[in-house]
């Protein structure tokens, strides 16, 4: 499944600066092709996370449209859009992300549980892959930042989604786990998923098919892996 953004622009209303409107993402067209890893990097506040959220269907653009295989994402009603997110989109948010009253295994299989599916074996496989198998019964309060991060990645990938958005996915991870996570994303892209990573980590660039940079809301392509 490919994701195509058409003339999307995102503005925030702010009252504390000289200007009341902050343009987080300037008008742009953008494509996340299926089977490729796309990386966006840029300084803090450059708008890369905003762009990722708009593309992931969790932040309405001020202007423009986002299409998934030609389907207008924001034209869907909330019920349908939520179901679509569950089935087709894997999202790794920035920072700590856990449902605090669920243990690690329950957190990982949550996307399955919403629609009355078990998902235990897939969830166990994911915990194994990201080295948190022994922590299945542990509550999130007792996890380190790196373990929480791997749990969030396992949850995002557990349904083998067709589109994956990862916001600083390797932020709290050591070299070994960074490699595991990036390998997994690369592998999913090889299997046909469209992957978008927003990161500061230069290591991610080596896994990228296309690299973009973002500066003050403006997106520009830096490199493209030869086909």
């Amino acid at each position: 499944m490919e994701v195509r953004a058409q003339q999307i622009r995102k503005e925030y209303i702010r009252t504390s600066r000289d200007t009341n409107i902050l343009t987080a993402v300037a008008s742009c067209d953008f494509l996340i092709p299926a089977g490729q890893v796309t990386v966006i990097h840029g300084s803090s506040g450059s708008g890369k996370s905003t762009l990722l959220n708009v593309l992931a269907g969790i932040l309405h653009p001020t202007e423009g449209k986002v299409f998934y295989d030609g389907m207008d994402l924001y034209a869907k009603r909330d019920e349908k859009l939520s179901g679509f997110r569950n089935l087709h989109i894997g999202y790794v948010p920035q920072g700590r992300s856990a449902v605090s009253s669920l243990n690690v295994l329950e957190n990982v299989k949550l996307p399955y549980a919403l629609y009355e599916e078990d998902g235990s074996s897939a969830a166990l496989e994911m915990t194994e892959r990201f080295g948190i198998r022994d922590l299945c019964e542990v509550m999130p309060d007792c996890l380190s930042g790196g373990e929480l991060r791997r749990m969030a990645i396992a949850r995002a990938l557990v349904r083998k989604p067709e589109v994956i958005f990862a916001d600083e996915p390797t932020g709290d991870l050591d070299d070994e786990n960074t490699k595991t996570v990036l390998d997994s994303l690369r592998q999913l892209a090889k299997e046909g998923a469209a992957v978008l990573i927003v990161t500061h980590e230069e290591e991610a660039f080596t896994y990228a098919d296309r690299i973009f940079s973002m500066n003050a809301g403006k997106l520009s392509q830096e490199s493209c892996r030869p086909g």
Binding site: N53, L59, D78, E79, V99, L102, K109, L110, A113, L114
Partner: protein, 401 residues
Amino acid sequence: MQIFRKLPLLNLLRKPVRSVILLCLAAVLSFTVFGGALMVSSLRSGMTSLKERLGADIMVIPEEAAEKKNLEEIVLQGQTGYFYMEDTVTEAVADVEGTGQVSDQIFLASLAASCCSAKVQLIGFDPETDFTVLPWIRRSYSGELKKMEVVVGHDIVSDEGDTLTFYGTDCIVAGKLTRTGTSYDHCVFAGADTIRELTRSSIGRNLNQFKEVDPNHVISCVLVQTEEGADIDEVAKRIEASVSGVRAVPTSGMIAGISGSLLGISHIVRVMTAVIFLLAFLIMMIVFTMLIHERKREYALLRVVGVSRVSLTRSVMSEIVMVCLAGAAAGVLAALLIQILFVRALQGTLDMPMLMPGAGSVIAYMVLSVLAVAAAGILSSFWNVNRVSREEIGLALRRER
């Protein structure tokens, strides 16, 4: 059951401190509502019970008894005492215009001494004419009271078949009355001939204040039911004018003081209940607002993995309703237990008749209180839950990082 459906319950079970705080809040709310309602209802039931027990429109007593306020002390305050007048008064009162049913009673007080089982108020009624005590006794005791048989009030420590001794004379307990919440719960009732026999024994033992009376020809009071449409105060005045040496006391006047106090206490209880309810509601609102905002990121995460707005709202509201129902149930049970355990102490402190309403009413109050607290929980949180569920997921994740 799948995890998401279990999530409200898991949130409560796996966050015990948070849950206990919420439970306590809900319990305070329901305790206040139910406790207040039950107290006001008990006071009202006690008042109704007292009115029913008095049964008559007018009580005619010896003039000196009225001056000493003996009657009110016996009837309303549960103190023991007795006074006498000639039994001819009954007929004289019956002849007064405006009087309907008329029946006399004879009083005697036992002593806390070796001659008596206990210090209680003894009330003798005439089974032929009585219209106040018998209808009530009939609810607990269906037989005919024979001579030297008594029926005891609810709080007398004695059961059917026991023997009670008054002034050295044995009486058999034929039945025990249901609770009235009034001073009658401490009284012993018998036919007038039994009380006359006991009065004779007290005089024989030189233990009666009135040594010269002939027990066969005295009574303590005459109870009067006025004719329909008659002015009770007018009839009372007519009785005092026609029969010498008596005071005719309208019972409404006797209980007017209690009635006034009841209204005052009921008002205070209602105001206090409303104030505590409002305060607890506001605290609940603040706590729920804080909790919901503290968990915004979690809600956003649930939305990211595919939970719709409606499902999220339903899940959070289920959790709130569950904790409110559980807390409210605990609150009403605590209030009920305290009321049952301390109703007599409360009755004594307030110096008011108190009677717990029937089981049906209590259950209705309990259910209504629990539902009121659940409604308060929904009202105090719905706006916030709705607002959070409608927030853009991307913004919630960014702000709560």
